[in-house]
Amino acid sequence: MQLCQQCPSDSSCQICLEGLGAGNAGKKVIPPRPIHLVHLASDTRYKAELRAISRIAVGVYGLEQWQAGRYEVELASDFRIIGSAIIPYRDSPYLVLDIEKVLRKEEVMQRLLVDEFHLWHLSHELEPSAVLTDHAASDEGRQQLIREQLDKLAVLQNFQELRMFIADGDKLRLLGNSTQPEDHLKRGLWKLVAKARLTRQNVRESLFSKEMDQVFDTHVLPLPDETCGIAVLNITNAIAAERKRQQAEWEMYRNVLCIVTKGKLILLQDADLYDFIRQSEMLLRYEIKSPADLQGMRRQMTEALVACDLGSRKPLHCVVAINEAATNVIKYAEGGKVELYHSQADQILRIVVSDEGEGILLHDLPKATLIRGYSTVDTLGAGFHVMLEYSDRILVNSSPQGTKIVLEWHHVKIGS
């Protein structure tokens, strides 16, 4: 059996989910999320797409011949899953991984948790199920901007549960009103206690509940009398509130940029872009890695645009705008790709210029896009200004996983 042609978009098809063996608990990842994974035995690194997910397994699509064994999946640079491979469909590029462990990098643990969430501010994920996009919720979020701003203040009130213990020999003494930790958490605590005893230093790590739906910020402090003090803070709600706040902040930037540019510059969620692209036909795709590639890209784009019958001046204007976006990709990321799409239904021509660079920080966006001369590299710094001038609308999606710029030209019919 093979995955369907539209995987994972076709809502009537369940093949990718069936492979997870999680019954109804699986969910499709829409849009599919680009990820890296490493085959641990051979240390081979693959690019792939996360297409389906459940509490116990994830489904990954790549162009590779998958090997048996264990893989490490990078969901974000500091958030990983270790899983063992099940290949549900013979000779298929679809790989299912049974989740064994959720990892977060040591250096991340050292930082304040709030900083950590900042890194993910546009990707919104903390645990696998949160990778899923809920369209209805994001629409509702838009209308509740003010209420969400108020949630900012609520963050501190959300440390709902603080439990304290003393580890004395092999016994855990409860302090105050603390309740017994569940077995899974208890095992995690004893590991940290062992580490603190060995190193004679404070240990701070994030532990997860067995179901991975609760996060505990855990501190272990070795005391002079060979016991250890333990504080376990349930920060699940604080994380949710912080993520909500960042969503609200993002919405605010989006509204401001939209108003200032009279609707010409729009911040975009990945899922929205995915929807646009699904309804469009790809006319051209060009990889750009170095400044020398720009000339060839312009040439091919011009040819494709002239064929679109836009009139005499427009193809040049389009190419000038595309060229500015592509130049940014080379300057700020290690290259990327330029894709030309046309939607016959909407009569919109779209250029998607994407890279896997570090992204533009949210608070840098207004400067980067609106102020002429803002640029860290010695040029005129007018790139965005040129794009705004020569296109009908610009959509921007940027996260620590990369940036996508979409240039749109409206009322474009191709053919009769």
Partner: protein, 100 residues
């Protein structure tokens, strides 16, 4: 991108040919500065320029600005209509107080 310089007693003409994009780097700016040291009047001939963008024009812009500040006369000639259009969006001539 290719350049040709023709120098007369007090005046030099730099003929530009090809596409001015980020591959030009600081090369063009340096050339303009060098020629500017030897002459009072510099003409930039854009007849052969077929494409221009904000990165390609950067070094030309800053070199021209410096020479204007030193009191040199700079003019840009033979600009094709398409290129004039882009220069206008970039605010090039306006920022330098030049006519093209």
């Amino acid at each position: 991108m290719q350049y040709q310089v023709k120098e007369h007693e007090k005046q030099a003409t730099i003929y530009l040919e090809g596409e001015l994009d980020m591959t030009v780097g600081s090369e063009l700016g340096n050339l303009i500065r060098q020629v500017g040291e030897r002459h009072e009047t510099i003409i930039l001939d854009f007849d052969g320029v077929t494409f221009i963008d904000s990165s390609g024009i950067g070094s030309l812009f800053y070199a021209t600005k410096d020479l204007l500040a030193l009191g040199k006369a700079i003019s840009i000639t033979n600009v094709k209509e398409d290129i004039r259009d882009i220069l206008e969006v970039l605010g090039f001539a306006e920022a330098l107080g030049l006519e093209i």
